[in-house]
């Protein structure tokens, strides 16, 4: 008795329409103008999927379901309204963990009550459904525990430093093999212990996979977990024979995979080397120690204001340091004052600046920086040579010329912004002691045309604004 076979055609068509809405939601993001229409299409798709499901199943507990939606929806709306834009990476990680957990819960519910899902065959749960269910729960659990670790690291509850267990590759591969073996065994023996062991091992490996990954690789981690949450939804869609879930899962899965690929390319690292972990602790590399004694030029807000006022063109390069000190609004104000002086102001964004793909763009958008003034690396890199001032605010690794010249540097080969070609480089940094997230010193600090502005990014920009006024 396969319930899915008896699904009425209108239901299949409704799920198909929901799937199309989700495709339109992503398609809309090709430009800011169409993006809001896309977001609305996504909401409509979700409403269609939910209403269709409620209409086609016999509902024994509507009040409880409505209460659950109200509780969850309320928490979601309040969080979405209150969250600071600088905290988006943590929020997205937290949301990924919820999708992962929901997949585990749906898998567990399907295991306990297969009849409701139409996957009950003559010998218990149908074998193909057992595999799909096992995979769905495993991917969901990995997404959950991995996202929780990512959240703790991004939120500062846990150090961004990689935690490297001895023999971790052996442990991880053995655990992975055990999970796959048990899922295979699940097809012949659907005892509860097999199911719950798969879940438990998957929770453990999600944890083990993310703890060795350092802070600098967070944009890849977030995209990777985004991808996993999609594959978890797709696997549950297979279990439930639900086309809306499969279409959505595939969309989200490919989206995360593509973003991971883009982030890896922007760091010139392979996906394998990222998930193997280790890159980008708090301050680990050897080059850092030698830095203390080297001479450098230190400037004041007054100097910076004077230099920029005289410039024809200033390119601002924001990084995570800007996000941490919430300097985006002050920065926009500075840009506006410079424009009044007749200076051309542009912003250059490195793809992995910040802790998630596109994070800097969001912060600049929040501060009302005109969209047309913001450029990607490829589009602006050639302009530094004709620029009077490059204003680097809390972006160390993505401007480090060692990536181009020093073969021994851990970031060698990573595409960087050519800020050193500008006539003057103004570099805001909290102190000379710390190094960037990759743990590499930046030779740029000690060059003749570089002026270090040592202070909290926001305070320094506010000082400059005062001096420009």
């Amino acid at each position: 008795m396969h319930e899915a076979a008896a699904t009425p055609a209108w239901v299949l068509i409704a799920y198909l329409i929901a799937g199309v809405c989700f495709i339109l939601a992503l398609r809309g993001l090709s430009s800011p103008e169409s993006s809001r229409r896309g977001n609305r299409a996504g909401m409509i798709g979700m409403a269609i999927a939910v209403v269709t499901t409620l209409a086609v199943h016999e509902i024994a507990s509507l009040p409880e379901i409505l209460a659950a939606v109200a509780i969850g929806g309320g928490i979601g709306l309040i969080t979405a309204r209150k969250i600071q834009m600088t905290a988006m990476p943590q929020l997205v990680a937290a949301f990924h963990s919820l999708v992962g957990m929901a997949a585990v819960l749906v898998g567990a519910a399907a295991f306990l009550n297969p009849g409701a899902f139409g996957i009950l065959g003559p010998d218990g749960i149908e074998p193909v459904s057992r595999i799909e269910m096992g995979l769905g729960v495993a991917i969901g659990a990995i997404t959950f525990s991995g996202s929780v670790i990512a959240f703790l690291k991004l939120n500062g509850n846990m150090s961004g430093k990689p935690i490297l267990l001895p023999l971790r590759h052996v442990i991880n591969l053995a655990t992975l093999a055990a999970i796959l073996g048990l899922i295979a065994y699940f097809t012949v023996d659907q005892s509860p212990w097999v199911f719950w062991t798969v879940a438990a091992l998957s929770f453990a490996i999600g944890f083990l996979l993310i703890i060795p990954i350092g802070g600098a690789d967070m944009p890849v981690v977030i995209s990777m977990l985004n991808s996993y949450s999609g594959w978890a939804a797709a696997a549950m869609g297979f279990t439930l024979h639900n086309s809306a879930m499969i279409i959505t899962g595939a969309l989200v899965g490919s989206s995360g995979a593509i973003l991971s690929y883009i982030m890896c390319r922007a760091m010139n690292r392979s996906f394998i080397s990222v998930i193997a972990g280790g890159f980008g602790g708090d301050a680990v590399a050897g080059g850092a120690a030698a830095a203390i004694d080297r001479p450098y030029k230190r400037g004041s807000a007054e100097d910076a204001a004077f230099l920029m006022k005289q410039a024809d063109q200033v390119i601002i390069v924001p990084g995570y340091g800007m996000a941490v000190s919430q300097a985006q609004h002050a920065l926009r104000e500075m840009g506006d004052l410079l424009k009044k002086e007749g200076v051309r102001v542009k912003y250059a964004i490195h793809p992995v600046a910040g802790r998630m793909p596109g994070h800097m763009n969001v912060l600049l958008a929040e501060a009302n920086v005109p969209y047309d003034d913001v450029f990607e690396l490829e589009d602006i890199n050639s302009e530094f040579a004709q620029t009077d001032v490059a204003f680097v605010i809390g972006a160390n690794d993505v401007t480090n010329p060692a990536a181009k010249t020093d073969k021994s540097s851990p970031i060698y080969g990573m595409p960087v912004l050519d800020v050193e070609k500008a006539r003057t480089v103004l570099f805001i940094k909290r102190s000379m002691g710390g190094v960037g997230y990759a743990g590499v010193d930046n030779e740029l600090f000690y060059r003749d045309n570089t002026m270090m502005l040592l202070a909290d990014a926001k305070k320094m920009v506010e000082e400059i604004v005062k001096n420009l006024g």
Partner: protein
Amino acid sequence: MDFVSILSIFVLSCFVGYYVVWSVTPALHTPLMSVTNAISSVIIVGALIAAASAASPAAKWLGLLGVVLASVNIFGGFAVTARMLAMYKKKERPVPQGDKTHA
């Protein structure tokens, strides 16, 4: 639906996803993540089926918990995406350089 039809839907959707996501402008990669997060919560469909059935109380409660979690994501994900996209909106009216007065 048989397994092969489902597999076809899956494989074709992966291709659609591949081409659609490459067309997303890099400036919108963060909203892309929050909106994909919201739509992957379509997993609520599974949670609703579990929560709706009276056959197993344990499965029902797991389903209800799943509905709560997925709802956080659906409402939170779409709302925070809308909030971000609204910030990009202001830049649709480009301000001529040099004569922008701000409050």
